[in-house]
């Protein structure tokens, strides 16, 4: 069985999605358990694969039994094994947390909702494990389409935001497709490993540079890298809460993974460092992303939108780290990819819990929440600490490596931007905490409205989110600390082996 893990990672959720869809028509009550089983199996397979890859080295899996480059093959090394496990587990936890939210908000559409949810995860997992450049496009589109629908389901401005996302996302995906086409036309191959071999003699050709540029711009659009980020804040800000906490942590991270994969496995670091002369420019763009993301976030008066802009800044961290052109930066980028998925999940899920109870996430809705929802707020605080970069949460360590990478590259702008964005994050989150801590909750007439000291003594009823949301949230919050403490083995065993030797 273990040699089939790579296939199972993708098949089990796919089959589950189909069963969920059927159940949606016949027995809606079965949808959630089926989805749970499918993603649970995927998470188990992903974990098994990770263990296997760590034990025996990279795994190649031939779909249909055809050897690459004629057939499609998976190529799984440490990098995608860990990202796959991450995606599967975060999606599973979020699924558990989404149960109550979907039940309350979309009771009639449980079936299609979970179908698309599981399909989105399938697509992401497929993108992560695949070793075929074109296959990646198909899976990318699955994830994107499900994403458009899951976001567009939200009320208010969500459909418009989703349509904008669709336009930009389609341009991005098409650029990627075109880039793959360019690679195909100069090599005749679509398999990543094969491409890497065939491309080496072509370094220096204009077509190759164009292919690289187009592919990257396409991916940047998908990951909302500044200045191509315009779709993200609205899309994630207006998305239904369970959608936001699925896509915000995972989608951008998977795209960053794809970028790193393209950079190190299709093209090589030698190409990226020597042929592409705009590396510095990209890092400066990343700097702009961090600064702009942080400043835009400051202008928001809604928790979810604020978090969405933070995602924009975080993308800057990872892209910048990957483009610094040294081992430390790349290590930091990969480590941050892992940590950021968990911390973004944690804060977006906390926002989801808040929405579940207060039916809003604007700053006015947050008043008095430390009294009403202490556990949720504690988890939000943990996520905030990770985003700010306070040890021992994982966020500190990835920032640590990123800053060291910046120092080694002598890129002071990058270092400065990282610190600046950390400081702004302090302001951002403590602004939220101040509102939740100092301002009495508005709805409560017997206590609120008078100001002064007295109402603090009054007992505000505890109105915590349901346990099915709290437990995943707590798991995410604790996961952040666990990830931080596990940084040593993570870097030594997982990340360092996959950093290409060509990086200085």
């Amino acid at each position: 069985m273990s040699e089939q893990y790579p296939a199972l990672i993708v098949i089990t959720p796919l089959l589950a999605a189909l069963l969920v869809s059927a159940a949606g028509w016949l027995r809606p009550r079965l949808c959630f358990p089926l989805a749970l089983a499918g993603l649970g199996a995927a998470a188990a397979a992903a974990t098994g694969l990770l263990v296997q890859v760590l034990a025996t080295g990279p795994v190649t899996y031939r779909l249909g039994g055809w050897e690459p480059p004629w057939g499609i093959a998976y190529y799984v090394d440490n990098l995608n094994a860990v990202v796959a496990a991450l995606v599967a587990w975060v999606a599973l936890f979020n699924l558990v947390a989404s149960y109550r939210a979907v039940m309350t908000d979309y009771p009639e559409k449980i079936g299609p909702y979970y179908t698309l949810y599981v399909l989105a995860v399938t697509g992401m997992l497929g993108m992560v494990v695949t070793g075929d450049a074109f296959n990646l496009y198909v899976l990318l589109e699955i994830t994107s389409l499900t994403g458009y629908a899951l976001i567009g389901l939200g009320g208010g401005r969500a459909p418009l935001a989703s349509l904008n996302y669709l336009f930009l996302g389609t341009i991005g995906a098409s650029f990627y497709l075109l880039g793959v086409g360019y690679l195909y036309i100069v090599t005749g191959s679509l398999n990543m490993a094969d491409l890497a071999k065939l491309l080496t003699p072509l370094y220096g050709s204009l077509a190759l540079l164009a292919a690289f540029a187009i592919t990257l711009v396409g991916l940047w659009m998908k990951m909302a890298f500044f200045p191509l980020h315009a779709w993200l804040p609205n899309a994630y800000g207006f998305a239904p809460a369970p959608t936001a906490s699925l896509l915000a942590p995972l989608m951008t991270k998977v795209m960053v993974y794809v970028m790193i994969r393209i950079m190190i496995s299709v093209f090589t670091v030698e190409f990226v460092l020597q042929e592409v002369l705009v590396g510095q420019l990209v890092v400066w763009l990343a700097v702009a992303a961090m600064v702009a993301g942080a400043l835009f976030a400051l202008g928001q008066r809604d928790l979810k939108r604020m978090l969405a802009y933070i995602v924009v800044a975080e993308v800057g961290y990872m892209v910048g780290g990957a483009w610094l052109g040294n081992r430390l930066g790349m290590t930091g980028a990969v480590l941050h990819l892992i940590n950021d998925a968990v911390m973004t999940f944690c804060v977006f899920l906390a926002a989801g819990c808040i929405y579940q109870k207060t039916r809003g996430t604007s700053f006015e809705d947050l008043r008095g929440l430390f009294k009403k929802m202490p556990w949720t707020m504690a988890a939000l605080a943990a996520g905030a600490m990770a985003i700010i970069g306070v040890p021992p949460t994982g966020g500190f360590f990835s920032k640590w490596y990123l800053i060291r990478g910046g120092l080694e590259a002598g890129h002071w702008g990058f270092v400065g931007a990282l610190l600046f964005s950390s400081l702004i994050n302090v302001v951002l989150f403590f602004r939220v905490f101040e509102i939740a801590f100092f301002e009495p909750s508005g709805g409560d007439d017997s206590h609120g409205g008078h100001g002064g000291h007295e109402e603090h003594g009054g007992a505000v009823a505890l109105a915590e989110a349901p346990l099915s949301m709290l437990l995943p949230l707590m798991a995410a919050a604790l996961g952040l600390i666990a990830l931080g403490l596990a940084t040593g083995p993570l870097v030594q065993k997982l990340i360092l082996p996959i950093i290409p030797a060509g990086l200085g």
């Binding site: 074109f134 198909v138 629908a149 669709l166 098409s174 075109l178 086409g181």
Partner: protein, 133 residues
């Protein structure tokens, strides 16, 4: 100037696709009506499909269906790759066509939802409404 003429003639497939693609891109960015943007998106995607399909062409090649009739491997030795055009881009583009249709479907569904709420599909009017509210 003269050295560019063969370039123009031998690579005209690329000029066509780039022109089409830019038309689509222009429409997506500059057009105000959401449905026109979707039309632009379709042109954009179709241009890429055209590009891929044109890769597959070979002088002297016919459609990629083996012409010896059905059989289990008999006479396979006579099949020459040069006689048939490259099937792979066609396969890939079948996928891309399906993707573009699916995207179109979802986009139209979103447009209907937007129309339900804003009663218009002109982007500036929608933004106007959003500013007012």
């Amino acid at each position: 100037m003269e050295e560019y003429i063969p370039l123009l003639l031998t690579k005209y497939n690329y000029w066509v696709y780039i022109t089409l693609m830019m038309i689509g891109l222009w429409a997506m960015i500059a057009k105000n009506n959401l449905v026109k943007k979707i039309v632009g998106m379709n042109i954009f995607q179709t241009a890429i499909i055209l590009f891929y399909v044109s890769i597959g062409a070979k002088y002297g090649g016919t459609i990629p269906i083996i012409q010896h009739g059905p059989g289990h491997g008999h006479g396979a030795a006579q099949i020459k790759a040069l006689a048939y055009i490259n099937p792979l881009p066609h396969v890939l583009m079948l996928t891309a066509i399906v993707v573009s249709v699916a995207t179109l479907g979802v986009a139209l569904a979103l447009v209907i939802k937007i129309h339900r709420r804003h009663r218009t599909l002109e982007e500036d009017e929608i933004l106007e409404q959003l500013r007012e509210s």
